[in-house]
Symmetry: C2
Subunit: 386 residues, 2 copies
Amino acid sequence: MTISLPLGFHSYVANIGIKDSTNDFTLVVADANCAAAGVFTQSRFAGPSVLLSREHIANLSAQAVVVISKNANVATGTEGLSNAREVVSGVASALACDPTDILIASTGVIGRQYPMANVRSGLNSIPKQFTATSAEAVANGIMTTDTVHKVAQATISGSSARVVGVAKGVGMIEPNMATLITMIFTDAQIAPTDLDRVFRNVINSTFNCVSVDTDTSTSDTAIVMASGAAGSVAIDAFEVALYEVALSLTKQVARDGEGAEKLIEVHVDSAKDHDQAKTVAKAIVNSPLVKTAVHGADPNWGRVAMAVGKCSQYSDINQDNVVIRFGLQEVYPSQVDAAGLADLSNYMRGTDVRIHVSLATGTSDATVWGCDLTDGYVRINADYTT
Amino acid sequence: MTISLPLGFHSYVANIGIKDSTNDFTLVVADANCAAAGVFTQSRFAGPSVLLSREHIANLSAQAVVVISKNANVATGTEGLSNAREVVSGVASALACDPTDILIASTGVIGRQYPMANVRSGLNSIPKQFTATSAEAVANGIMTTDTVHKVAQATISGSSARVVGVAKGVGMIEPNMATLITMIFTDAQIAPTDLDRVFRNVINSTFNCVSVDTDTSTSDTAIVMASGAAGSVAIDAFEVALYEVALSLTKQVARDGEGAEKLIEVHVDSAKDHDQAKTVAKAIVNSPLVKTAVHGADPNWGRVAMAVGKCSQYSDINQDNVVIRFGLQEVYPSQVDAAGLADLSNYMRGTDVRIHVSLATGTSDATVWGCDLTDGYVRINADYTT
């Protein structure tokens, strides 16, 4: 299936020699300045790309977004900030627009300067016209250790307008108010303040609910741009389509977690409030003992009880009232016999494992996504830079 | 080296058929009721052993501690509580003392009932006299997936009294106010309230600063007993010896973390307060990306910057003022060149890796201990129960 960008957007993807010969320079350009919103990492080591994009999107409009992959340009000091400004200026000059209309994101190794000679000749090679519209090419251009590109689209009900999103990110993934890098485009016409509000809502229940390894990136960036080329739409219908795209990308990120072989979905309900539900769900999906049990299809459900138990800040959680299920099978308090353990192990052999915990402390719920912990994760990360 | 228990303590270690033919029943008995203190897991899924021990140690005295290994007796409902009471009663009956003078700890798989027929015949086989004094035998009896037993001793300055401790625990290790299981014995004479106060101090800066995998056990139990058989000592000298023993056991636990090949020590200083220092240090030692980099001797120091950065609750941390060192080598902000990266990788090939971060937000500090994340951890935990 080929997915094209929505009306009003074109792209340019190239190799400019950041690290190797794979594509590392990705530009998505709107035909005209358009409504835009963004959320970014809260890391205290946020890189210059995040700092510049935060400034440039404050007016809720943008003309283009440029992504450099294979180098995060983080922890690079004043030289790194100056280099990021030079990239933004170079792109703005090629597009004949103001630098403040350019958003920038960068992803890859931390603590290395860009190879600026290569970057400068790359900037000089930006064409005058953009004709490419493949969303897959954009998704490919922003990859680092991703094994597959992540694209999703939805049509906005009652209109011909579409929402198309791309994302990357397989490690250092536990976003806090954003994800590693995701860019979502729509040709719907959306007022900038509506776009900003709806985008933050959707990110909170999708990308902010995924965790591969509890590590929050220094470069998390989520951007949405609305060209308006397909006309106006109902804002609720837009939110539904945006949610569908963001949820699909979120699950694609979790499933492609470094070394991952399985998607884990944890649903916690009957909680005091959403925070409690999400905190407990995150404790489960992030537990290395739960993640390895899922990896080995080991029916060691007691590790879920352990993960609930370690949320010791919640004195209202009473172990006598908690219910734990894998798929539809209750494993606690109605303890499973040998046949039940065999059924459980069989269920855990699937590629999608759903854990459902009811806390009996209220009526709120939350769903989070993660992946299993494998030998592959260790191998990938024991020699990433070398 | 053979380490004996301090004067006034004897032991009995046996196999009673909890899971296999290895020792699984360990009893340490004081010649007379003695001063005791304990700290326990804060898990909301704490098992009946923890509930009973908490009750029985409230009066700061005890006669004996019994440990069953290979089964945690956790998430086992009223039947599990009743079984734990039966173990305590059986031991009290054999020792001709009150059940409330018996402490109990249990460690192993969660969610399984004890094999009570075996437990009952084990209780009936407890001898009338205890002659064994080997601390190593005690440390062996309480092991589960530990690859080595953990024992440490120190002599209290200005006296002949000793402090001898044992510990077990390799996974599900991020104690919160206690560790998986550690028992420390002394023949010094210490007032119960002094023992309790000094023990809590020491646990806070030792066992509460270790993390193998961020998972907090449901069974964490730390107990100290003072027989008084070697007479009175200076309380400060006792604290020094107790700290030495607890620190040694803490490092032994970290170094024997499941699958671990290296000890990681993280020291954070120039912090606003101890909490900030410890939170940042824990974020570093628990980061799977830092742990895998250490495993692979990958000089990817940027991951330490990432881990500091994700402590986004601390707006006073300014990346421009942070200093990061591995051993004595500064890697940030004075960025390392290729030769420096080679030196760093060489340092990281050692079995002990020390990471030192200065935050420039104050004058407090903290040290925590952990281990690398290896293929071995994944393999051990992907099929623990099966």
